[in-house]
Amino acid sequence: MVEKFFLLNGLLVVFILVGIFYLLLNESLPTFKEVSIVEFFTSTTWNPTGYHKVSYGIVSLIFSTIMVTVGSLIFAVPLGIACAAYLSEIAPAKAREILKPTIEILAGIPSVVIGFLGIVLIGPMIAKIFNLPNGLNAINGSVLLGIMALPTIISISEDAINAVPDDYKKASLALGATEWQTLVKVTIPAALSGIIAAVMLGMGRAIGETMAVLMATGNAPAFPKSIFSAVRTLTATIGIELGEVAYNTTHYYSLFAVGLVLFVMTFLINIVSDWVLNKYEEAE
């Protein structure tokens, strides 16, 4: 009896996950009474409130999302892995005591605050460096998402590097390799699957992040021409438009469809990184 009660609580998480999927699907479907599913996935024009012709194509939104996310990983991945390697291999105890809470605090800063800094700090900096009228563009979003993905990448990579058996390192050192060579040629390759999982989880976080990109990327729903274009991601589109549409209209349903696409994207990323991590734990 008691056990059943607790089992039900455990299963609740499964119900919620399935419930999210079901409700998103259920609220998305009415979109496709009026919008062809082919247009939805192939058109680059997102203009649900157009005066002459409305259009619901998410290609530009997906491309913007991927662009900003890849941009963030370009600097967050090397920085994150290097920081993790520093923490687990060469940091003195004192440095660890400072760096570990730093990473925790960084992870705790609300996304709206990061977005705010994108407007007041990073934006003007980008405008100045690249001589642009304003700094609200894809690069700004990438910098912010990179900062937000860093704690995830660092802490999971560090766990992965820590988990490499000491024997590997000792064997390498005994063969006359330097500590640096051991780190680059032995330890990091041995921790690679864990590091890949870390990068994927960081990527999942970046794709799903809303406030920072909503505030700092300029939000032009057109197909981005360059990294200096204002872009609008999937998440930002929902954030901006859902507050303004009337309930139960095609526009309203279409935003749930965007949410469903987002859910499926992050779900797949999570499943794959889960699989990588599991494989890696079994191999140990």
Binding site: I20, L23, C83, P110, T235, G239, F263
Partner: protein
């Protein structure tokens, strides 16, 4: 080419630089917000409502709103997280169901916050008819926090030695009695640390409350769980992107950001100190 020692020096130098870089990111963020926000913080700012079209006055309703929502979040996420953790750690056998639950927890943790917003809008606001309210927003945040509270509670349960359980069981009591009297009392402080961290994240979230209850401006305080509310993170978003005179209210936005960060980080600090104290106690 470089000698091996030189290579190592450069390599390690790069790692140290990366760690320093992460450290300075946090330093810049905190410095900017504290230095520019501290000027507007005074008793009036903390205890009065915005006035003159939100160009003057304080943020009191937003503080009250964030507090109220976080209470609802805690009421949902803390007990449910605890129960699910009790199932996973005390009752569950390794098997398909447990595997499914664990996979769901990890995936739920990766669902984008804006998708929780959509889910909350569909389920709590529309289907259950709670409207845009503190209740809807709090429950939405509660579901989002659930993976954190489950994981934290389970970690705490794992630290309780089996002898505590067995000692009690040997006296002939039921399993639930043993857990209630001889396991939970010792695990609860540990559960609290992770739970507080999860709640601090929820308090700083914006995307899930955008459509489930947060209001642009309310001249009065919420009087029931069914009222709309102002919230600190949403207020910062409004003050930095939606307000009609953004340049003029910039100092107020900085002040709001500082209060929000102070709130979230002090919750973090409580959790970190609690954990530190627990570890020290465990060592003795």
């Amino acid at each position: 080419m470089f000698s091996r020692d030189m290579q190592q020096k450069i390599g390690f130098g790069f790692l140290r630089l990366s760690a320093l870089c992460v450290l300075s990111i946090l330093a810049v963020i905190l410095y900017d917000i504290i230095s520019k926000g501290i000027g507007v913080i005074n008793w009036e700012f903390l205890t009065t409502a915005p006035s003159h079209g939100m160009t003057k006055g304080g943020i009191f309703p937003a503080i009250v709103g964030t507090f109220s929502v976080t209470v609802i979040t805690a009421l949902l996420a803390v007990p449910l997280g605890m129960f699910a953790a009790i199932y996973l750690n005390e009752y569950a056998k390794q098997g398909r169901i447990t595997k499914l639950i664990r996979m769901s927890i990890r995936n739920l943790a990766g669902v984008p916050s804006i998708v929780f917003g959509l889910f909350g809008l569909a389920l709590f606001v529309q289907i259950l008819g709670f409207g845009t309210s503190i209740l809807s927003a709090g429950l939405t945040l509660g579901l989002m926090t659930l993976p954190v509270t489950i994981t934290a509670s389970e970690e705490a349960l794992k630290t309780i030695p089996n002898s505590y359980r067995n000692g009690s069981l040997a006296l002939g009591v039921t399993k639930w009695y043993a857990i209630r009297t001889n396991v939970l009392p010792y695990a609860i402080p540990g559960m609290l640390t992770g739970t507080i961290l999860g709640l601090s994240r929820a308090a700083g979230e914006t995307a899930p409350i955008l459509f489930t209850g947060a209001a642009f401006f309310l001249p009065f305080l919420p009087d029931s769980p069914f009222s709309q509310f102002m919230a600190l993170p949403y207020h910062l978003y409004v003050m930095s992107t939606q307000h009609h005179d953004i340049a003029k209210v910039r100092p107020l936005a900085y002040g709001t950001a500082l209060v929000l960060i102070a709130l979230v980080l002090s919750m973090n600090m409580v959790a970190i100190l609690l954990r530190y104290w627990l570890r020290k106690k465990a060592k003795r």
